[in-house]
């Protein structure tokens, strides 16, 4: 059968002529199942988790131990403020990805670019938190030294000169940061990696033969 005959069959197919307005109207109230909508829901859940857990911890350290651990509250407030910037940036990317009215090629370019930026923000944000937290807790342990046992390698004492302590902190921080980087990378690839690869493959196909 020739392609023109297939075209006739295709065009003669007047499917879906009986879907009434009520059914279409009902669809407008349904929740979108798009990946972007799911990412928005996840991001909002992340925001609430941070607000609740950080809020509780900040209040706790503010008032507990007669205010001797108030530094933890300030530190968590600072991390919380960074999270707000991270949240706004990710939210903006998702809003850009929601617009599907451009032609297919530019939409794919936008989706790939936004998703890669989204992944980078996730990876940088998740990994940077480790050395920052380690630095803070190192400083906290140093200033609140009476809570630490004197023989601890992470605490300067007569047996542990400062260079040894700093080297131990550095090695521990580097180790945890590297491990967390790979865990984050694996997780973010598991979430979005295949999707990005698929989009890139279609985009590459579109760009092939371009003159």
């Amino acid at each position: 059968m020739e392609l023109d005959q297939w075209k006739e069959i295709w065009q003669a197919d007047t499917s879906a002529t009986h879907t009434d307005h009520q059914i279409l109207r009902a669809l407008l109230d349904k929740k979108s199942g798009s990946p972007v909508e799911k990412m928005k829901r996840n991001l909002n859940a992340e925001l609430w988790l941070i607000i609740i857990s950080y809020g509780a911890a900040i209040l706790f350290y503010f008032f507990a131990f007669n205010g001797r651990m108030i530094e933890i509250s300030w530190f968590m407030l600072m991390v919380g403020a960074f999270f707000i910037v991270y949240y706004i940036r990710k939210r903006k990317l998702l809003r850009e990805m929601e617009d599907l009215s451009s032609h297919v090629k530019s939409n794919l370019e936008k989706q790939v670019h936004s998703l890669e930026t989204y992944i980078r923000i996730y990876l940088v944000g998740g990994t940077a938190l480790i050395p920052i937290s380690m630095l803070f807790f190192g400083w906290l342990m140093y200033t609140k030294s009476r809570f630490i046992s004197p023989g601890n390698i992470l605490f300067p004492s007569e047996q542990n000169p400062l260079w040894k302590v700093l080297a131990a902190w550095f090695m521990l921080t580097a180790l945890i940061t590297v491990v967390m980087y790979y865990i984050n990378k694996w997780y973010v690839r598991k979430l979005y990696g295949r999707h990005v690869e698929n989009l890139k493959a279609v985009l590459d196909e579109m760009k092939g033969d371009d003159q």
Partner: protein
């Protein structure tokens, strides 16, 4: 409120007039009826979300094709594990249409099966070809320049010929 109802009515009227096209996109990009229903629903939702931005600069059908194809290619189909079924019979299906002859149904099923074996881009191009769209309209929808489209189209047609040839 009156204005919003009017807009909604206008939107529903337009979608109603073009729903055959949406169903065809769903058939081309999804094999499973549950996935097709999900994709149909998602396309209508995305069209409704984008509707306030439609200013008539392009034809409604062009705008609709863009959103439908963007939704199909970059969206819902990826979640193949998702099996949310809508109420049976809500959407008439070309292959279930009683008025169609069995032979026509079989030929259509063969055509859809062959198209689904093409790449994502080729499916979109072949669909637009079967809909008798000009290369200019295809460029407007896909964003691929016409010279490139012609080369790709020849390849896609050749593949389709091979796939629909009786063995």
């Amino acid at each position: 409120m009156l204005n919003q109802n009017h807009t909604e009515q206008e939107f529903l009227h337009q979608v109603d007039a073009h729903k055959g096209m949406i169903h065809k996109v769903c058939h081309v990009y999804c094999h499973n009826p549950g996935d097709r229903d999900d994709l149909f629903q998602e396309i209508v939702i995305q069209l409704w979300k984008a509707w306030p931005g439609f200013r008539g600069e392009s034809r409604f059908s062009t705008w609709m094709y863009r959103i439908a194809l963007n939704t199909a290619i970059s969206g819902l189909r990826r979640n193949r594990h998702q099996t949310v079924y809508l109420e049976p019979g809500l959407f008439s299906d070309s292959l279930r249409d009683e008025s169609d002859t069995i032979e026509k149904e079989e030929k259509l099923a063969t055509l859809y099966a062959a198209i689904r074996r093409l790449s994502e881009l080729e499916r979109a191009m072949i669909m637009l070809y079967l809909e008798d769209k000009t290369y200019e309209e295809m460029e407007e929808i896909l964003g691929v320049n016409q010279n490139s489209l012609r080369v790709k189209m020849n390849r896609a047609k050749e593949k389709l010929r091979r796939l629909t040839k009786p063995s």
